[in-house]
């Protein structure tokens, strides 16, 4: 079979890089050698490296963790008065996004049932204490959500879940565009949204240190209260 390969048509390597980002470099190398248009390529694209190790429950639980992070970020900003101190248009945006993220948490938790992981503890530091810091972080967070859903949705096995995640993805993309518009940034800077793997997003979240260790506020220590 002497058909064109991905390597031969992708001279500057950009496409291969994108596939490597999505599927892992070994798979990208395989694609480079595979005949373009073959069934093998479709199968390979549909089954990126992460799919071999991640179950749908794993992916949904990570989604739940990420949605909880977002929901807590917006809810806290609302409760602390950060959102209340913003101009009307931004306030509507922030309140709407908070309500959406809380709805996402609720439904994913329901779908997972007893398989849902516990609620993590979050420490946003000063990131949601002022309107400026809040907005900047929210824009980055919404962009990251779009990249995450773009990356993980194709590796979900259950077609019903894929359909539901597409519903979340389009809403998150609207959030991101809305956020960018309000800050004066280009709502759609690129013709293609680069997907991020779950592993990559986990790394980004780890670098923010927004997920913190829960403070130990309970003990089996004998009380020394006045009695």
């Amino acid at each position: 079979m002497n058909g064109p390969t991905l390597g031969s048509v992708d001279r500057d390597g950009a496409l291969t890089e994108a596939v490597a980002d999505l599927c892992g470099s070994t798979r990208a190398e395989f694609l480079r050698r595979s005949a373009l248009g073959g069934a093998a390529m479709l199968a390979a694209l549909a089954a990126p490296a992460e799919a071999a190790t991640l179950s749908d429950v794993d992916i949904l639980n990570f989604g739940l963790r990420f949605e909880r992070l977002q929901a807590t970020f917006y809810t806290q900003a609302d409760e602390m008065g950060t959102i209340g101190a913003m101009a009307a248009a931004k306030r509507t945006w922030a309140e709407t996004l908070g309500a959406h993220e809380r709805a996402h948490v609720k439904i994913i938790k329901t779908v997972l049932g007893p398989k849902a992981e516990g609620r993590p503890t979050f420490d946003f530091g000063e990131a949601n204490e002022t309107p400026a810091a809040f907005t900047k972080t929210a824009v980055a967070m919404e962009d990251l959500t779009v990249a995450l859903l773009t990356g993980v949705t194709p590796i979900v096995r259950d077609r019903g879940l894929v359909a539901a995640l597409f519903g979340l993805l389009t809403v998150e993309a609207r959030h991101a565009a809305w956020a960018r518009h309000l800050t004066g940034a280009n709502p759609a800077p690129d013709a293609f949204d680069q997907p991020k793997t779950l592993h990559q997003v986990r790394g980004v979240i780890a670098r923010t240190r927004f997920v913190a260790r829960a403070p130990r506020t309970s003990a089996s220590h004998s009380p020394s209260f006045t009695g």
């Binding site: 248009g37 073959g38 069934a39 479709l42 809810t75 806290q76 609302d78 409760e79 602390m80 309140e95 709407t96 908070g98 309500a99 959406h100 809380r102 709805a103 996402h104 609720k106 439904i107 994913i108 329901t110 779908v111 503890t121 979050f122 420490d123 946003f124 530091g125 000063e126 204490e129 259950d158 077609r159 019903g160 879940l161 894929v162 359909a163 539901a164 597409f166 519903g167 979340l168 913190a212 403070p215 130990r216 506020t217 309970s218 003990a219 089996s220 220590h221 004998s222 009380p223 020394s224 209260f225 006045t226 009695g227």
Partner: protein, 268 residues
């Protein structure tokens, strides 16, 4: 002949598309059909969309802020200032750990900033005199926690009432401080929760609060007021303690299921 060769060309095109791309799959799913006069009509048999496994409920904005309070853990011991300014007088030191070995937490009274824009937090302090507040840098505290509960202890009625978002969750009789060692009045908060200890005197659960008994400062650990169970339910309700708020064991267990750390405690 022309018609035959045209059909053959079409078959080849379909075969190429089949092998080449997902578009071919879509084409196969919607094959062309012939109308009554033998002309090809538009392919219209589009498969129905896949039903989503879930759809979120309607988004809800936050309700009015009734019984909403912020608290935060203390990351490291820090000097407490009288104003949101590193040069302001030091009025106390906020420890990172409580006498019971749990992470110290503070209730947040206000947030502010210094002249350089640095973020500060006004915290309620577990020091004497009761009711003092002081300023600490935001960076000394961990992530905020939010509670929607409030415990009101009525010393005259000898009754405790737990509210959540303004609604009564629990009401129970209590024993409070005797006349020589009264339970202090004021606004405090729950600092920790102790369980599985071996002391029937405190019942099955004890909550530590930020309140301190002014009359028993020589008590071990500094005379902190607790809310706990008892091995003398016959003394509840009453005015018998050294300042602590005692509840019957079934009541303290019910409270423990509903009252998180950080809950404001109002004693009046």
């Amino acid at each position: 002949m022309r018609r035959r060769s045209a059909r053959r060309a079409r078959r080849v095109a379909v075969a190429v598309a089949l092998a080449g791309s997902a578009t071919a799959v879509a084409l196969l799913a919607a094959p062309s059909e012939r109308g009554p006069r033998g002309h090809a009509t538009a392919a219209v048999r589009v498969p129905p969309p896949v039903a989503p496994a879930f759809t979120p409920g309607p988004p809800r904005r936050l309700g009015p802020a009734r019984d909403r309070a912020l608290w935060a853990p203390v990351k490291h011991a820090v000097a407490v200032r009288s104003a949101p300014d590193a040069a302001a007088p030091r009025i106390a030191t906020l420890p990172a750990v409580t006498p019971e070995g749990t992470r110290n937490v503070v209730a947040i009274a206000r947030r502010g900033q210094d002249r350089r824009g640095g973020r500060w937090v006004e915290a309620r302090l577990a020091v004497l005199p009761n009711g003092r507040t002081g300023w600490v840098p935001r960076a000394a505290l961990g992530g905020y926690g939010t509670v929607h509960t409030r415990l009101v202890v009525d010393r005259r009625a000898l009754e405790a009432t737990l509210y959540r978002d303004g609604r009564v969750l629990l009401r129970a009789p209590v024993a409070v401080g005797a006349s020589g060692t009264p339970t202090p009045a004021g606004e405090f908060y729950v600092r920790n929760r102790l369980t599985r200890y071996r002391s029937a005197t405190y019942g099955p659960v004890a909550f530590g609060t930020s309140a301190r008994s002014p009359g028993v400062t020589d008590w071990p650990a500094g005379g902190f007021v607790g809310i706990h169970g008892t091995d003398r339910p016959d003394l509840v309700p009453g005015r018998v303690s050294h300042g602590c708020i005692r509840m019957r064991n079934p009541d303290i267990l019910a409270l423990a299921r509903r009252m998180p750390v950080g809950t404001p405690v109002i004693v009046r």
